[in-house]
């Protein structure tokens, strides 16, 4: 057995798919989803946290390359070597993971000659966080490709792999190393399933909101993606409006630097002038560069010329490159370049007609339209128009958060379950049906 390689000293690792497979039936979103779940296999049981980023400084850069691609491990066409990853360290390529673009990368394929991307990705990410090859046949770190490993949401690492990664990073809080003392059987429940309503070995997350019955504290377009914030959590949608996960992510684990006691945010927007991301809560605001807070924050919102009392909504309108703040029935128009409020503000009613007089939040979207959110509904104002489109308001849960009307209705009245698929009144273990739905979502 090779000696234990280096490990990451930090616990928050960023990742990014830099290049995608060229001739693969797998779409980009599917590739990203499979990478997400392959990393999650490791982060579920260790204190490591993985965050997808858009920039070029990701710790784990993922590429699909052919033949010689400027590292010591050239690929060799179909078969042979299929992927590799670099161990942790300070060097530039540490953590980087390369897949042979000449392989037939698939997911859930019945073709015996295809290469299951999820299975290979788990193995390679094991290297990327410090594991070397082992001889144990049941280990995911065995060097030979042994076929698909099953559903990403129900995959549990073999015991020897769990022990080896725990030796490097320790056990994630909420995971009991003795909970599964032996090699899991195929089909065994995932090691760290999402908490169910009535049984879980992880700490209860009673404050986790449900996306289908929530109205949101804040909504923002950040780096082209949509973020829906509620309490201490947020949901994220890709540029093509695919929900990254049905389960919300914790704000503090992604947006690093917000105070841990912060239990919600009031408004969020991406500043057009420098693409910093601004979070508002009460009389204070924070400025983020990517996912890290900048030094010197929080600052008082009076920096913007806003009065005490906070804001309900904030968004940057691409049409005139101005930032709008809303509080109760007043709004302000802010010039980011001049760094001052435009004269005549606050004003009693915003320039858009047909939207509610008070807002939860608003955002500009890549279709050119502005979207205004209030309660469980949203209004769309087409590019450069000043009146909400006639068919609005519509359901935010249905149109953005992958919910069905029936589900939203049933859950609002306390019924559990993914009602659109399997309405079962009184069923408490909702994660099963929801997980099943989630797989469909991420591979579509």
């Amino acid at each position: 057995q090779a000696p234990t390689p280096t490990k990451w000293n930090k616990r928050n690792l960023s990742w990014r798919v830099r290049t995608f497979p060229r001739d693969s039936p797998l779409g980009r979103d599917t590739v990203r989803a499979l990478m997400h779940y392959a990393l999650k296999v490791w982060s579920d049981i260790t204190p490591l946290n993985f965050h997808e980023v858009a920039g070029s400084t990701a710790d784990i850069q993922i590429d699909f390359s052919k033949a010689d691609h400027n590292d010591p491990y050239p690929f060799d066409g179909p078969g042979g070597t299929v992927a590799h990853a670099f161990f942790p360290g300070d060097h530039r390529i540490a953590g980087d993971t390369h897949f042979d673009d000449d392989e037939s990368w698939t997911f859930r394929s019945s073709d015996a000659h295809s290469m299951d991307l999820f299975a290979v990705a788990i193995h390679e990410f094991g290297h990327a966080i410090g594991l070397s090859h082992v001889a144990a046949a049941s280990s995911i770190m065995q060097p030979y490709y042994q076929g698909p490993v099953g559903d990403p949401l129900h995959y549990g690492l073999p015991y020897e792999d769990r022990v080896r990664i725990w030796q490097l990073y320790g056990v994630r809080e909420s995971v009991s190393p003795t909970a599964q003392p032996d090699t899991p059987e195929p089909g065994e429940p995932p090691l760290l399933p999402e908490p169910t309503n009535n049984q879980s070995n992880s700490p209860p997350r009673k404050d986790v909101p449900h996306r289908c019955s929530s109205h949101f504290d804040a909504v923002a377009q950040i780096r082209g993606e949509a973020f829906f914030f509620k309490g201490r959590y947020f949901w994220r949608l890709t540029r093509d409006r695919h929900l990254v996960s049905l389960q919300p992510a914790q704000i503090h684990r992604f947006w690093r630097g917000l105070p841990l006691h912060l239990d919600s945010v009031d408004a969020v927007y991406e500043r057009s002038s420098d693409h910093r991301i601004i979070f508002f809560k009460g009389d204070r605001y924070w400025v983020f560069k990517d996912t890290n807070v900048e030094e010197g924050y929080p600052r008082p919102i009076s920096d913007f010329g806003l009065p005490p009392g906070g804001v309900d909504a904030a968004f940057s309108w691409a049409h005139n490159d101005k930032t709008y703040f809303f509080k109760d029935q007043l709004y302000w128009r802010y010039d980011e370049h001049m760094r001052r409020m435009d004269p005549g503000h606050p004003a009693p009613s915003p320039p858009w007609r047909g939207i509610p007089s008070t807002l939860d939040d608003a955002m500009h979207w890549s279709d050119g339209a502005a979207y205004f959110f209030r309660g469980k509904e949203y209004w769309k104002v087409l590019d450069s128009e000043l009146v909400a489109a006639p068919e609005y308001p519509q359901s935010t849960a249905r149109d953005w958060l992958v919910c069905k009307d029936l589900q939203a209705d049933s859950e609002a009245t306390g019924m559990d379950g993914e009602a659109g698929a399997h309405p079962q009144s009184g069923q408490h273990d909702q994660s099963r049906s929801e997980d099943g739905y989630e797989v469909c979502s991420c591979t579509s």
Binding site: A2, F75, T81, V82, H84, E103, H133, A135, Y144, Y145
Partner: protein, 85 residues
């Protein structure tokens, strides 16, 4: 055992070097390895791959060498040196 074909031996030596079972080929002597060293490397590879450790480059071993796999070596130079000591 049936006589090994030259290309199989070549493939085997190349494979064993690539994945850490044999030291990289000496640029001055090419890929010459002693029979004992080669046999030990094959046995280690067989053990690692779940085969019977015969030290002989047989069909099963060649088949395993053709199995799709990760590019990273199974043994690092440090481990190999320790084993030799």
């Amino acid at each position: 055992a049936p006589a090994l074909r030259a290309e199989d031996l070549s493939l085997g030596v190349d494979w064993l070097s690539r994945f850490g079972y044999l030291p990289p080929a000496d640029p001055e002597t090419g890929q010459l390895q002693t029979q004992e060293e080669l046999s030990k490397a094959i046995a280690t590879m067989q053990r690692f791959g779940g085969l019977e450790a015969t030290g002989i480059l047989d069909e099963a071993t060649l088949e395993l060498m053709k199995t799709p796999r990760c590019s990273l070596p199974d043994l690092s130079p440090a481990v190999r040196a320790r084993r030799r000591r």
